[in-house]
């Protein structure tokens, strides 16, 4: 399965036309990580936005695992959009394959594809809701 086919199956890209998905697949690179390899590092500038195509990752603060992420999930969006450095590490839980979108490209992509921005916003809202429930 090529990258465009993998992307077309994910919720984040569900409202885009096949041509738009293909353009995204050709515009950004895949990245593959071994289990336990760090993908996003706390405190470091220039982190990318990642969409998981295959495998799982964990979000880690110190020794605490905050969340596990799987296919179709994404991470790095907060640092990429705010210009701040990530507040947690993201570590590959298994062999992990991601689409990697550089931070300076993410804003342009979301403005060009507002359907994708809306999807991202909804998924982000659901995450906030869930983390609120945890605290409650």
């Amino acid at each position: 399965m090529d990258v465009a086919e993998r992307l077309a199956q994910l919720a984040l890209f569900a409202d885009l036309t096949p041509m738009q998905v293909e353009a995204i697949a050709h515009s950004f690179e895949e990245s593959v990580f071994q289990a336990d390899e760090r993908v996003l590092r706390r405190g470091l500038s220039g982190g990318n936005f990642y969409v998981i195509l295959e495998g799982e990752a964990r979000v880690v603060a110190g020794d605490r695992v905050l969340r596990t992420l799987g296919r179709g999930d994404f991470f790095g969006e907060i640092a990429a959009l705010t210009g701040e450095t990530p507040s947690a590490d993201v570590v590959a839980e298994s062999l992990l394959r991601c689409l990697m979108i550089p931070p300076q490209e993410l804003e342009r992509l979301l403005l060009e594809r507002p359907q994708m921005m809306l999807r991202l916003l909804r998924m982000e809202a659901r995450r906030l809701q869930t983390s609120g429930e945890w605290q409650a």
Partner: protein
């Protein structure tokens, strides 16, 4: 020489290197230097690999300046010469400029080939030529290569087989066209309409070569040309006339953002049906020729069958920061395929591992890593008297850092008697290593494209990052920087 047996008969070796292009030769040179027993096999009959034939329009896109403000035998000269292989011995350094006729500051294909072959010859690098790797298996933790000459069993294998196998994108009907490697002499395209699939190096190289001949040229792929990326690409040095003509509205050359639905062959040529990716609409074009400039892949043989994980649509192996397969232990890649290690890719910036200038450093770091992993050698760590000035000197002059931006870094750690030079390492490895307190310098590119010297401090497992202010002459030895770096390095315990 007739009657002389070829080197490296089948058998057991610590390491087997496959390939006799610049990646294989550079790896073999450093393995020998670090005392690692190894065999080198090549299916070719002579060194220099792809430079025996490519690039087809005969001119490289990586520069070498024959005259520079520093001597050719210095480490700093490597920064001016992106094509020669590396060596410790002065007589083996900077061999490519000696072959250049200076028509350009970019060597021709034959000049490059001569430079690489001279390196193999002068360094007396032994290669078993005409020996083809056929299949791969594990025997316990040893990797066994079956070849046309017999089996080679090793603790580690380094594949330096390039990214040389023509790759066709998954476009229905594209297989009816020619691939870049089969493109004819430019004059054969006189007065023809040529549709080139692909807008990367080989696509633009072809279009540039055909500009004086073809009636019209279409360059097409789904991804728009990124002018900001092109501004930093070696491609712009040579092949941007087609894009320039199109951007300024010149007729006959078109750079299209389209996904190709299908390519049909008919009696007089081809019909291409394509849909816009950055614009709404459809194009139906009748053309005389279709050429796939969709690039190349690593010739991986049977490695995917035994579990090699790949990246970039299956075109290159997915690699760790030390260029080992993420899925096949003991299987390493050197040369152009070392691009399968992405490193930190901060702000999406990739390493320079697709060209000799970058992968020659990868080869040295890889050979040292293998020597240490196999317990053949422990690196000698020279004492560092003044940490700040050492790192600032590296940031001003180290060709490894300036070529492999954001991928390689210079490390200073703590030895038994004080600070010691930890050598050049992949930055991702340094950041994730738990080897104690240390500092590292790397050269990176920020979101505006400015080159930024960066210092990392690792203390009690925690990393802090410090971006120094860029200097227009890349000169980092003044008092301003000395004070800045001393402030940063205060975090390290005395």
């Amino acid at each position: 020489m007739a009657g002389v047996a070829p080197p490296f008969p089948p058998g057991d070796y610590d390491v087997t290197v496959v390939g006799s292009g610049p990646g294989g030769l550079q790896t073999s040179y450093w393995l020998r230097r670090f005392g690692v027993q190894h065999a080198v096999l090549s299916r070719d009959g002579a060194p220099a690999g792809m430079f025996q034939r490519f690039p087809i329009f005969q001119r490289l896109i990586t520069w070498t300046k024959p005259d520079a403000p520093v001597a050719r035998t210095t480490r700093e000269y490597e920064w001016y010469d992106h094509n020669s292989l590396l060596a410790d011995e002065p007589e083996l350094k900077a061999l490519v400029p000696g072959f250049m006729d200076r028509a350009f500051d970019l060597p021709s294909r034959s000049e490059m080939e001569a430079g690489i072959a001279a390196f193999a010859n002068k360094a007396a690098l032994r290669v078993r030529y005409g020996c083809t790797w056929e299949s791969t298996r594990y025997d316990g933790d040893r990797v066994v290569l079956a070849t046309t000459d017999g089996d080679y069993s090793s603790r580690a294998v380094v594949f330096a087989v390039g990214v040389t196998k023509p790759w066709f994108a998954a476009v229905p009907g594209l297989e009816h066209g020619a691939h870049y490697v089969d493109a004819m002499e430019p004059e054969r395209y006189a007065d023809r309409t040529v549709f080139i699939v692909g807008k990367r190096n080989s696509g633009f190289e072809l279009a540039q070569g055909l500009l004086p001949w073809a009636r019209s040229i279409f360059l097409a792929s789904p991804r728009p040309v990124q002018t900001s990326a092109l501004a930093l690409s070696p491609l712009r040095v040579r092949y941007l006339h087609p894009y320039d003509e199109y951007a300024r509205g010149g007729p006959g050359t078109y750079v299209l953002d389209v996904a190709i639905e299908r390519i049909d062959r008919h009696a007089n040529g081809f019909r291409v049906v394509a849909n816009g990716t950055t614009w709404d609409g459809r194009l139906v074009l009748d053309v005389d020729d279709v050429i796939a400039a969709t690039g190349f892949q690593t010739p991986m043989g049977d490695l995917p069958r035994i579990g090699l994980v790949t990246v970039n649509d299956g075109r290159v192996p997915a690699l760790t920061p030390f260029w080992e397969s993420v899925s096949l232990p003991g299987v390493y890649f050197a040369g152009n395929a070392s691009q399968g290690a992405k490193g930190l890719a901060k702000r999406g910036a990739g390493a320079s591992s697709t060209a000799v200038n970058g992968f020659r450093y990868n080869a040295r770091v890889l050979a040292q890593h293998i020597a240490e992993t196999l317990n053949v050698r422990t690196s000698e760590q020279a004492p560092i008297a003044d940490l700040g000035s050492f790192l600032l000197h590296e940031l001003s002059t180290a060709p490894e850092l300036w070529v492999q931006k954001g991928y390689l870094c210079r490390v200073v750690g703590r030895g038994r008697t004080g600070l010691v030079d930890g050598g050049v390492l992949p930055l991702a490895h340094f950041l994730d290593s738990r080897d104690g307190d240390a500092a590292a310098a790397s050269v990176e590119v920020d979101e505006r494209g400015a080159i930024v010297p960066t210092i990392y401090v690792r203390r009690a497992g925690e990393i802090s990052e410090h971006l120094l202010t860029p200097h227009p002459l890349h000169e980092y030895s003044s008092d301003v920087y000395t004070k800045e770096i001393e402030h940063v390095l205060r975090q390290l315990p005395a």
